[in-house]
Point group: C2
Chain length 266, copies 2
């Protein structure tokens, strides 16, 4: 998928919404445990109830890997279901990987080919040769952590180098030269909207994936005001605020309600 195609979907649906499928098996409605594949049954219901409101889904790999082979099978079923519902939905593997050539190439093949994800989140710590293997696949995307929404972002990301530039800005400036705005995005937490304006100056056209609206307390209005590019260029993620909006048999309707409230503001 190209940036233009993704921006087209955003305009068509009037939505920047990315639904985070952090589908913790311990938190899904208990009645689903009668199903052969409870997590997939949960995801399917959420997807069926929200796909006209969302432009992207982001399974958080940790929750699937924690279930072992069973979990990975349900991840595969989830990606297939999203594809069958609407082939224009953008699917992100929230994996936060980062390793060198040989290994990076294995991960790229795993996520882009075996599982047919559109994008994968990556840590920039190991530098250019840990990212480039992900940029070799036409229509696929590397999403680099830049400024994250957690308190630990202060430990290293916000620290300034001798030229006055904080680490996260150097990551943006350097890594933007490795790819294009058609194969690279950046993660910028919604809990730091005051930085979004600065970030937009460094990467005016790149897509930003913005987590932290909702459960983590980020403001949607501030994100839109400071984070939009000329053509759109935002994916705003909400995970628990949508998928766990309800916990009874009406969980999917509740999720739709939460997604509607969020996209109304877009």
């Amino acid at each position: 998928m190209t940036a233009a195609e993704l921006n087209h979907e955003i305009r068509r649906k009037g939505s920047y919404l990315c639904v985070g499928l952090d589908s913790d098996p311990g938190k899904i409605p208990v009645h689903l445990n009668r199903e052969a594949h409870p997590v997939f049954a949960f995801n399917r219901a959420i997807i069926d109830a929200t796909h006209d409101l969302a432009v992207a889904y982001k399974p958080n790999l940790a929750f699937y890997e924690a279930m072992g082979t069973e979990g990975m099978e349900q991840l595969e079923m989830t990606v297939d279901h999203i594809r069958s519902v609407d082939p224009n939905l953008f699917i992100i593997a929230d994996a936060k990987r980062g390793d060198i050539g040989n290994t990076a190439d294995q991960y790229a093949r795993a996520f882009f080919i075996r599982y047919d994800f559109d994008a994968i989140t990556l840590s920039p710590y190991m530098g250019r040769d840990s990212i480039e293997p992900f940029l070799q696949f036409t229509g696929k995307w590397a999403i680099l952590l830049a400024l994250t929404s957690n308190p630990g972002a202060n430990d290293f990301q916000m620290q300034r180098f001798s030229d006055g530039e904080p680490l996260y800005e150097k990551v943006l400036r350097e890594s933007a030269t490795w790819g294009t705005h058609d194969n690279m995005m950046f993660v910028v937490g919604a809990t730091r909207p005051e930085y979004l304006r600065r970030i937009r100056k460094i990467v005016p056209e790149h897509f930003l994936l913005v987590p932290g609206v909702g459960a983590q307390g980020g403001s949607l209005e501030m994100v839109l005001e400071n984070g939009k590019s000329t053509h759109g260029g935002l994916l705003i993620n909400n995970s628990r605020g949508i998928i766990f909006a309800g916990s009874g048999s009406d969980f999917a309707e509740k999720a739709r309600g939460a997604a509607e409230r969020m996209t109304k503001g877009m």
Copy 2:
């Protein structure tokens, strides 16, 4: 496993060797493809041939994940086999994860409990709250990337902050305060032995996991000279140089030969 127990094994075996199980299914001897579980059959033969020479094994998760559920099953079988051969072998999940509390906790449970690994490699980019969940499991370890062996280490890790300290040193200094030398190690590439002496001043007692000897060109002698702590404190990894030393029916003997040559220098 405690640091004292691991150092005891190192002295007992006269070896710092960690064998990296980067068991690419495209590179294992072709005759193994007749087996029901080719990658596991490969790993089992390597483990059986080297376990008296090695103190640790390090499956590289990318290669198993790239095979989907089949791969994860063979990973589980591999960990079980190592445990059954010698319960004192140290098993590292080379996963290079790094995510916040909620997700980090899922990964910790996946690798420490479901798969029974002793340790997991982590990226420090997201800071303290992305590491701490891994420090809550008695006898288990977080292994943080500090200075890696690839060219991309120059992009960010080697860059100096305004106080003159490069990022990798800040990572060592800061994160060493989050845990103890009984639950935290650091990755330092063998391709940069001149830095090992400096690193030993910052973390005199912590274990260092040193990749890059062999295929990547690092010198074993330099690593030993500059990297040892008072009690040992080193795990020196070799992956392809050992597991792919041969490619015929004698691949396991060849692997043993390569491991013997390497441990002789220890």
